[in-house]
Symmetry: C2
Subunit: 432 residues, 2 copies
C-alpha cells in the first residue's frame, strides 16, 4: 500500500470521510505517517487537518508545503481556521493568515483576540441574519442571492437596527410558512445569546441543557458577531469528558495514543510523584506503630485491606461527587443533604464489610480481639472515606481548583492515613 | 415558597426552561418533591417529564393523574414518548398509549418492538421526506401544506419509489436555491443510513465522527421508518460518558444524587465486595512472607508504597486504554505498538521512582540493600502495571465485557500481588 503508488493511495482515500482519513493518519506509525503525508500531500484538505488531534496536526502542517496549506485552509469556516491557528508557531500562523481573503482574515484575527476557551474562539463568522421586520419571502430571496452562505446553518438570527440579536427562526419554520408571514411571528421560544467572553464550558453546558442547535454570539456592545453551532458544542463536551476521565484516572496532561514515550511518561509522572509523597506519608503513620507490628505480624498482613477498602469507597464517592459537580447537579443548596447521604452510605457499607472482614480475620488468625479491631477500623475508615470523597471535591471546587484533577491524591491520603492509624492504633491499645 | 401558593409557584416556573424545572425537581428533597408535583401537577408537561432522570420520572408519573399525563404526552415527538414508556410499569404504559392518536400510538408501539438501546428506539417517526425527482419548489410547497411537521428538523430525506432513502438535502441548501432546481442536485456528500437494529452506541459514534445533524433510519426491507437527530445522539454520548466515568470509579449501578441511601449503598457494595476479595488475596501473599516481616519490620512500613505506586500507574494506563477503546482509537492494528509504548513508559517511570524511593529508603532506614530491593521491586511492579493496565482492558474488550466496568479490580490485583511479591520476595532472598 505505502509502496510509492500515489494514484492507488488517492483512490483509497478518495471515498473516505475526512474524519476517517484523520484517524488513519493517527493510527499509523510516525515513519509511515511522514511517508503518507509526503505522498498524499495535496489531497490533505482543511477538513482532514481539522479532524486531526492537536499534537499531530502541528507535525502534519509542518510537512505540508505553504501553497498546499493555503489551499487547504481556504474552504474552512472561520471557526475551524481559528482552531487550526491556535496551536501553531507564529511563522506558520502568518503563512496561513496570508492565504486568506481580507474579510476572512480580519474575522479570524478578531476571534484570536478573545481569550482561549471562550465563546469568541468557538464561534464562526459565517451566519445568516435578517432585520427583525423582514418577512419569510424577503429572507428566502436574500438567501438565494447570497454567495457566501455558511456550509451548515439552522437558524436565521433576527437583529434590531443596532445589530443586536433579538430572536431566532428555524429554517424549518421559515420553509413551512407563507412568504408573507413576518419572521418575528416565527421566533423560537428558547433563545439564548452568548457574550464572546463566555467560557466555552458554559456554552457547551447550555447547548446540552437546552437542546440548542445554533446560537448567536455578541461582542461587548451586544452586537451580533458570530454563531456557535451544536457540533462545536459537542466537541467541547467531548473534550471535557475526556479530560475529566483522564484526570480522575491520574493522567494530568493531555494524553493521546500518538504521544511519544517521553511525553507520556512525563504526563503521568506528576501524579505519580504526588502519590509517592502521600504514600510515604502513610508509611510514616505505619512506622509510628512499628513496635506494635513487631509484636504481631498479622497486623501487617491485614492493614492493606483496611486502607484499600477505604481507598475504593473514597474513590466511588469522589467519582459521583466530581460528576455531579460537572453536570451541575450538586449545588450549594443540596451539598449538605448529599454529604449526609454519602456519610450514611459509607457507614452502612462500613458496617457490612467490617463484619465480613471480622469473620475472615477471626477464622484466619484465631484472635477474636483482632477481629473486633479490624471491624471498628473499617467502619471508621469507610465513614471517613465518604466524608473525604464528597467534602474534598466540594472544597476544591469552591476555591476554584478542578475537582477532577486534584481530588484523588487528597482522598487517598485521607483514607490511607485514617485506615492505618485507626487499625494499628486500636490494635496497640487493645491487643498489646 | 412551598407554602401552598399555587399561583405564585406557577409564576415562578413559567419562565423556566423545562430542563431547569426538571433539575429543580431533582434537587429538592423527596417530601418537597411530592408537594411540588401535587401543587404544580397540570403544569408538568411532557417536556419536563422527558428531562427528568429515569428514577425520578417514574415517581413523578405515579403522582400525576391519568388525564394530566395523557395531556402531557400528546405534544411530544414519538422518540420522547418511547423514552418515557420504556421504564414504566405495564399499567402506566397502557394509560399513556391510550391517550395517543392512533397513528402515533402505532408508531410508538412499533418502536418498542426494537431491542433496547437500538436505533429503532432512539428514532422519531416525525420527519420530512420527498420523492427523489422533486424540485425545490415542490418541496417547499409540500412543507407549507403539511400540518404535522416535526418540531425540529434539518434535512429533507429523498426516497426512491420503494421508500428507500437515497440522499438528504439540508434546509439551508433548499432555501438558498431557486424553485426549479432538482433536489437530487443538492444532496449532501456525507449521507449515512442506520438500520433500526443498529446499537445506539454505534449511531452516536457516527454522529460524533461525521458531524451528522440528522439521519434516516430504515427497517429490515431498507424502507425509511424514522429519523435520528443530533440531540438524541448527544444524549446517548452523554450517558455513555457518565457510565464510563462511574464504572471506572467503581460505581457499578446507575447512580444519581436522588438515589436513596440503600440504593446508593447497594450500587457501591458490588465493587467493594470484589475489591475485598482481591485485597484478601493480596494479604495472603503478604502472609507468605510473615516470617520475613517479623525479622525486619521496615518491610511492613515500605510495602504499601510499592503496591500503591503500582496501583496508580496501572490505573493511569488503564484509564488511557479504556478511553481509547471507547473512542475507537485503540484498534487491533495498533494494539501491539501501543502496548510496547506503555511498557516503555512504565519502565521509564519505574526506574525514575525506583531510584527516588531507593534514596528515601536508604536515608530512612540506613540499610543499602533495602534501598536496592525497593528500587528493583518498584521497577518490576510499574512494568507489570503498564502491561496489566493496557492488556486487561484489551482482553476484556475482545471477549465482550465492558472494559470500563471490569478492568479496575483485575489491574489492582495484578499490581498488588506483583508489588508485595517482588518486594517481600526479593527482601527474603537478599536481606535475610
Amino acid at each position: 500500500l505505502e509502496a510509492e503508488d500515489r494514484d492507488q493511495l488517492f483512490e483509497l482515500i478518495e471515498p473516505l470521510h475526512p474524519a476517517d482519513v484523520a484517524d488513519l493518519i493517527e493510527q499509523i506509525n510516525p515513519a509511515e505517517r511522514r511517508h503518507f503525508v509526503e505522498l498524499a500531500g495535496e489531497r490533505i484538505g482543511g477538513a482532514i487537518l481539522s479532524e486531526l488531534e492537536e499534537g499531530l496536526r502541528e507535525e502534519v502542517i509542518g510537512l505540508l508545503g505553504p501553497e498546499v496549506l493555503a489551499e487547504a485552509v481556504r474552504d474552512l469556516d472561520s471557526d475551524d481556521v481559528v482552531d487550526l491557528l491556535e496551536d501553531l508557531e507564529e511563522e506558520q500562523r502568518r503563512a496561513i493568515l496570508g492565504a486568506l481573503d481580507a474579510p476572512e482574515r480580519l474575522a479570524v484575527q478578531k476571534s484570536l483576540t478573545y481569550p482561549e476557551y471562550s465563546a469568541g474562539r468557538l464561534m464562526q463568522r459565517e451566519l445568516v441574519m435578517a432585520p427583525e421586520h423582514w418577512t419569510v419571502g424577503q429572507a428566502i430571496d436574500h438567501m438565494r442571492e447570497r454567495e457566501d452562505l455558511p456550509s451548515q446553518f439552522y437558524h436565521v438570527f433576527l437583529v434590531d437596527p443596532k445589530m443586536r440579536p433579538v430572536g431566532n427562526v428555524t429554517l424549518g419554520r421559515i420553509m413551512s410558512s407563507r412568504r408573507s408571514v413576518a419572521l418575528k411571528d416565527l421566533v423560537e421560544e428558547v433563545f439564548r445569546v452568548f457574550p464572546a467572553t463566555d467560557s466555552e464550558t458554559d456554552v457547551a453546558y447550555a447547548f446540552n441543557q437546552y437542546h440548542l442547535i445554533s446560537a448567536p454570539v455578541v461582542d461587548e456592545s451586544e452586537r451580533l458577531v458570530g454563531m456557535i453551532t451544536i457540533d462545536d458544542a459537542m466537541a467541547v463536551l467531548d473534550e471535557e469528558h475526556e479530560e475529566d476521565i483522564l484526570r480522575l484516572g491520574g493522567v494530568v496532561e493531555e494524553a493521546s495514543l500518538s504521544d511519544t514515550v517521553l511525553q507520556a511518561a512525563r504526563g503521568r509522572a506528576t501524579w505519580l510523584f504526588v502519590n509517592l509523597l502521600t504514600a510515604i506519608f502513610a508509611s510514616i503513620v505505619i512506622d509510628l506503630f512499628a513496635d506494635t507490628i513487631d509484636q504481631m505480624v498479622a497486623l501487617a498482613v491485614l492493614m492493606p485491606i483496611v486502607a484499600s477498602m477505604g481507598g475504593n469507597a473514597g474513590t466511588q464517592t469522589m467519582t459521583v461527587a466530581v460528576r455531579s459537580i460537572a453536570t451541575r447537579d450538586l449545588t450549594a443548596q443540596n451539598a449538605l443533604r448529599v454529604t449526609g447521604r454519602e456519610a450514611a452510605v459509607g457507614g452502612l457499607n462500613g458496617v457490612l464489610f467490617g463484619l465480613v472482614m471480622a469473620g475472615v480475620a477471626a477464622v484466619w488468625f484465631g484472635v477474636p480481639m483482632l477481629a473486633a479491631v479490624i471491624a471498628v477500623a473499617m467502619i471508621l475508615t469507610q465513614f471517613a472515606a465518604a466524608l473525604g470523597g464528597i467534602g474534598i471535591p466540594i472544597l476544591l471546587d469552591r476555591v476554584g481548583i478542578d475537582p477532577a484533577l486534584a481530588s484523588g491524591p487528597f482522598v487517598t491520603t485521607v483514607t490511607d492515613v485514617v485506615g492505618f492509624f485507626t487499625f494499628l492504633g486500636l490494635a496497640s491499645l487493645v491487643l498489646l
